[in-house]
């Protein structure tokens, strides 16, 4: 059981690291949202699932309730993260921010 937990946590940590690197490296605002919106979501899901599995080592009413709350977090994050991403993109569009293209880079 502990192996699954460790694998999920390391997986999530790796994706968080890649998301942070992507936020740093990407050339413009719209491209930065791709790693921020996707990698962070999957990493959060994986790590919270791992912690919920670890929490179910002793099965009592209390631990089951705590794991249910963690699944609520998973449900909420998977619903809220695309919405937040979409809101930020919308704000960028309304502010008139152009997106990065290769021609602009050459010229």
């Amino acid at each position: 059981m502990n192996i699954i937990v460790i694998a999920l946590l390391v997986f999530g940590l790796f994706f968080f690291l890649a998301g942070a690197i992507g936020i740093m490296r990407m050339p413009d605002f719209y491209s930065r949202l791709h790693p921020a919106g996707k990698l962070d979501t999957l990493a959060t899901l994986a790590m919270v699932m791992g912690l919920a599995v670890y929490n179910l080592n002793q099965i009592t009413l209390g631990t089951i309730l705590i794991s249910l709350k963690m699944f609520l977090i998973v449900f909420f994050v998977s619903l809220a993260s695309p919405t937040a991403t979409h809101t930020i993109v919308d704000a960028g569009m309304r502010a008139g921010l152009r997106h990065w293209t290769k021609k602009k880079q050459r010229g």
Partner: protein, 183 residues
Amino acid sequence: MNVSNNEISNGNESSSPGYLKSFFSFLITFVLMLLCWLVLSGIFEPLILFLAFISCFLVAYFFSDLLFPSLETAYIGIFFRFVQYLPWLVWQIVLANFHVLYVTLHPRMKDLIEPQIITFKTNLKSEMAIVTLANSITLTPGTITVTADSDGVFKVHAIDTASAEGCPGDMLEKVAKIFGETI
């Protein structure tokens, strides 16, 4: 329990449309609220349960038309088809993440990406279908929904050419099948 109540309401729908519908909408809201309360509080004493009952009753009585504005028979089918859609969506999310991971960690990333904004039109009518498609597009390979309006016109920012070409794809078909709409 919700589902069985819902089915009973379907049978009586034609004879008594008005208050029975709002009653089952109230009942479903009440049960959902009570479940949320029980999970979040975790205390099962009689006094607390009594308070939970009172407050959930009040909230469901006043706000039942917010959560389910119109209770229709098609919701049961939509719910089950949506549950069947979820595993495919999770698999697509994992694939999308590995794609973005490859692009992000590639040393010559700026040659690999080709950001562009594409527009396409769908015939989706209901708001739920549009919201589901928009969030699914945001979570899957290299695309982010920029705008989605109620006419079904989507603007999508894609990170490279391959993901821009395959954008609506079979996801649109699946979402349209869930909500029983034409593409």
